[in-house]
């Protein structure tokens, strides 16, 4: 197992390098000048050129590449081209918000989605099943940002029970900041719920028709034992795989949610970096995203191995 983990981590290095190189090249192909973006259209040409010089943008591209790669290896994500602030400090500030949102959404999605999926599988072709399937289809069809705005207008504007702006202060008042997490987590979590519900239903239906489930019932085992100990364990395999993919994609999906709720996060940082042509911030955030996906995939594979001993053998 340890060897497996080490190999996977070693393989992550070329993946991250490839991501970094691709992003480095792509951002420099996109039209737009970071210096011009930073100074605005009012600035004179001389001021723009002077800033380009200070940003190091006039250096040969390979010099920029290796300088930044060297910093990255040393753990230095560089400074923002626009503000001059340390990217590491910015990431350290916003990353907890993104992780908080991602895991709250996953928790919500799985805690709600798996039982719902099981229920609709057990009550197949009943009103509950039909209702669940229609709702999950609706959930998959509604864009996340639209759903977010709907939640804001209901819970913040009309009912006034939950805040719609900001992320709270994780360091000074973590409990109070949970209030700021509810609506964003609900936004992403409900959409994830719909997907998990459908997948769980489908997986459970497959498993429930298996011989060993029939045997378990014939042995007189309680229905709860049959469902949770025998059926669900087998059905969990594809659910775990999809959940792992969802976690990785949620990092990206969080962009729009963070935007609508004006909540700090990696997604918002990424959008801002693109708009401002902040090459350093953009490269750093993409590398972090890639690293996160690698780690999540690794955890997913390990979990899979725990659930299905055949895989780890």
């Amino acid at each position: 197992m340890l060897r497996y983990i080490l190999v996977r981590l070693l393989l992550a290095i070329p993946v991250l390098l490839a991501v970094f190189t691709l992003v480095f090249l792509v951002v420099r192909i996109i039209p737009g000048d970071p210096a011009q973006a930073a100074l605005g259209d009012y600035a004179s040409k001389e001021a723009v050129e002077a800033l380009r010089e200070r940003m190091g943008l006039n250096e040969p591209i390979y010099v920029q590449y290796f300088r930044y790669l060297g910093d990255l290896v040393r753990g230095d994500l560089g400074d923002s081209l626009i503000t001059g602030n340390s990217i590491s400090e910015q990431v350290a500030y916003v990353l907890p918000y993104t992780l908080e949102l991602t895991f709250a959404s996953v928790l919500f999605g799985t805690v709600l989605g798996i039982p719902l999926g099981m229920l609709t599988a057990v009550k197949r072709n009943s009103f509950l099943d039909y209702a669940g399937r229609v709702l999950s289809l609706a959930g998959l069809s509604i864009p996340a940002f639209y759903f977010a705005i709907l939640l804001i207008f209901v819970f913040s504007v009309r009912l006034g029970v939950l805040p719609s702006v900001g992320g709270g202060d994780l360091t000074e008042d973590p409990l109070r900041s949970l209030k700021y997490l509810i609506l964003p987590a609900l936004t992403l979590g409900l959409i994830m719920t719909t997907s998990i519900t459908r997948l769980t239903r489908s997986a459970m239906l497959n498993v429930l028709s298996e011989d060993y489930v029939r045997t378990a019932r014939a042995k007189g085992l309680a229905e709860g034992v049959v469902m949770f100990k025998h059926a669900l364990r087998s059905a969990l395999l594809p659910i775990v795989s999809v959940t792992g993919l969802w976690i990785a994609s949620l990092i990206g999906d969080s962009v729009l949610t963070e935007y609508v709720f004006s909540r700090p996060g990696l997604g918002k940082m990424l959008v801002g970096a693109i708009q401002q042509r902040d090459y350093t911030a953009l490269q750093s955030v993409m590398v972090i995203y890639a690293a996160f996906v690698v780690v999540v995939n690794l955890i997913t594979d390990l979990t899979y191995g725990l659930l299905d001993p055949r895989v780890s053998r």
């Binding site: 600035a43 626009i82 004006s262 996060g265």
Partner: protein
């Protein structure tokens, strides 16, 4: 002879009377007084000594211990103005690099200039002294122009970290202006070419200009705008230029307190502000790029002021909300169409005029609606700046180019384009630009001109039009005076790519350089204004540029917010928050 009985009765009455009077008077301690009463009996006089209790007013010094306590004031929440601004994150709080709307608004609250535009009124005529105690004096010395400022005394720079507050002197002012004039330390360095700055004494600053300027052109350079903001030397030197961008230190009514990345900036009131302590305790300035979020925040009571969108439908919708007011005010960013004269067939003035006749200003105006937008008839908006041409003036000269599509088709046919022609342009995805280009596409289609519009992101559009990609450029901008408008958009030095100082002369026009330069050198206001007008008349005669309208600023607020001034126009493109701004529940 009164009997003993009568005397006794009289005595008793007198005693009762005395008691009554004492009861109405000051409270006094009863005292026992021994009186000698002479009682006369029939036949004999008897002197008796009688003890009588008499209550008399007696002054008795009383020492009281009085403990005086202050009347406890009711505990109130700090007054924090919560602003939702259309921005993803901070750009720069160094005023000499603050070029975005969000940056300009913040530095306006933190810094001062030698002069300032009156709160809520960005007109030149309303300018008044700020850090300077009075307007400057001007004298000509050996062909150079010398402006002398006397500073207010006792203006304090904000404390910052280990650096305590200290008094701003001419040393800070000179340092700041030299920084503003430095290409490597300022985005506005070009405004200060040919200027020298001198600290004569602690409170006197001299600015010497190689080329004399009228007050209309000089005052904005030292006002609370762009490079005119005065930074505190000690703070900049202690922090360094890069750190100063995120840790500003000025003299304004509010001081920088905290920056939460991508979320907000917090300012606190400056209790030592020279105009008086602010009524607000602080400001929470939030970065909220999504208008729906800002709107929801205002309606939910989580925000007090928000940046709206320049759309009359939005204005009307928000104005119907209870407890919400909407302010529409200047300055107006002028939308102008520039024809690239180097691209056929736009190199033919008759073709350009035909396109002008094909376009209807009112159709463009309807995209945004009045009062959010208003038509303009010259590149310099007459409503806000001296030197602009009014509608009456332009119509009187026959240069309004009122829409006439039949005439446009005829003119195109006469020019050899009876079947029209095709052009391709890029536009920003931003609503203000995209709507105009798409509407232009529809209008020009009616005269046979096929305009292909490609949508790109805002930064890309700005980059590409500066690379001379577009044959027709729509540009929306505010500039502080007519000289800047004309120089940067129509002087030959400013021609994109090939100009001596490439800027935003998208039309490649070079026929009014002398008028622009003469106007700049004129010190007589009327002569200067007329030269600016003459330059714009030439532009319209050659149909180099077609002015559309200006788009004003739109902000929503809770009804309890009082900015402390009327809102006419603000150069910082926000309502203006200062020491007089207040809010009620």
């Amino acid at each position: 002879m009164l009997s003993r009985k009568t005397l006794g009765l009289l005595f008793s009455l007198g005693l009762v009377l005395t008691l009554l009077l004492a009861g109405c008077g000051a409270t006094a301690e009863p005292q026992t007084i021994i009186q000698t009463v002479v009682v006369e009996k029939e036949g004999e006089t008897i002197v008796e000594t009688v003890e009588v209790v008499v209550t008399q007013e007696v002054e008795v010094p009383v020492e009281k211990e009085v403990v005086v306590t202050a009347t406890p004031e009711p505990v109130t929440e700090p007054k924090i103005l919560r602003v939702g601004q259309n921005a993803a994150d901070m750009s720069s709080l160094d005023p000499h690099f603050a070029t975005t709307t969000e940056g300009r608004a913040l530095v306006d609250m933190i810094f001062n200039g030698l002069l300032r535009y009156a709160p809520g009124n960005g007109a030149f005529e309303a300018m008044e002294p700020d850090l300077a105690a009075d307007y400057p004096t001007m004298e000509m010395v050996d062909g150079t122009q010398v402006w002398t400022f006397t500073l207010r005394e006792g203006v304090m720079c904000h404390p910052a970290g280990a650096m305590p507050a200290y008094e701003l002197t001419s040393e800070d002012v000179v340092y700041s202006l030299e920084k503003a004039a430095n290409t490597e330390r300022s985005a506005y360095a070009g405004e200060y070419t040919g200027m020298a700055f001198e600290a004569v004494d602690d409170y006197t600053v001299k600015i010497t200009l190689d080329v004399p300027l009228s007050p209309v052109l000089f005052y904005p350079k030292v006002a609370n705008y762009s490079g005119g903001f005065i930074v505190c030397k000690q703070a900049v030197e202690a922090l360094g230029d890069d750190k100063f961008k995120t840790n500003p230190v000025g003299t304004g009514p509010f001081m920088f307190a905290k920056y939460s990345p991508q979320e907000k900036i917090e300012l606190v009131a400056n209790p030592d502000y020279f105009r008086g302590a602010p009524k607000l305790d602080g400001i929470e300035y939030r970065y909220m790029a999504d208008v729906a979020s800002r709107e929801a925040g205002l309606l939910a009571g989580e925000l007090d002021v928000i940046n709206g969108i320049p759309d009359v439908q939005w204005v009307d919708k928000m104005a119907t909300e209870e407890g919400i007011d909407v302010d529409v005010f200047g300055v107006g960013e002028v939308a102008t169409v520039h024809f690239n004269m180097t691209v056929p067939p736009l190199d033919n003035p008759e073709v350009r005029k035909a396109l002008a006749y094909a376009m209807d200003r009112d159709e463009f105006l309807a995209l945004f609606g009045e009062p959010v937008a208003e038509n303009v008839y010259s590149p310099v908006p007459a409503k806000f700046l001296a030197g602009g041409l009014t509608q009456e003036e332009v119509e009187g000269l026959g240069l309004a180019y009122d829409v006439d599509r039949d005439l446009a088709k005829q003119m195109l046919a006469d020019a050899g384009y009876a079947d029209g022609f095709a052009l391709e342009v890029v536009t920003s995805e931003m609503t203000g630009y995209r709507r105009i280009y798409e509407n232009m596409q529809a209008q020009l289609a009616e005269v046979g001109v096929d305009l292909t519009v490609n949508v790109v992101d805002h930064s890309t559009m700005h980059a590409q039009i500066r690379e001379d990609v577009n044959p027709i450029v729509v540009y929306i901008a505010w500039r502080p005076n007519a000289d800047v408008y004309l120089t940067r958009f129509y002087h030959s030095d400013s021609i994109v790519v090939t100009g001596a100082k490439p800027d935003t002369n998208f039309s490649h026009y070079d026929q009014i350089d002398d008028l622009i330069e003469s106007a700049r050198a004129a010190t007589d206001a009327e002569e200067q204004i007329q030269l600016w007008k003459d330059a714009q008349i030439k532009l319209l005669e050659d149909m180099v540029t077609y002015p559309l309208h200006f788009q004003q600023q739109v902000y929503g607020r809770r009804s309890g917010v009082d900015y402390g001034h009327d809102l006419v126009s603000v150069l910082a493109l926000y309502p203006g928050v200062d020491e007089m701004t207040d809010m009620t529940e």
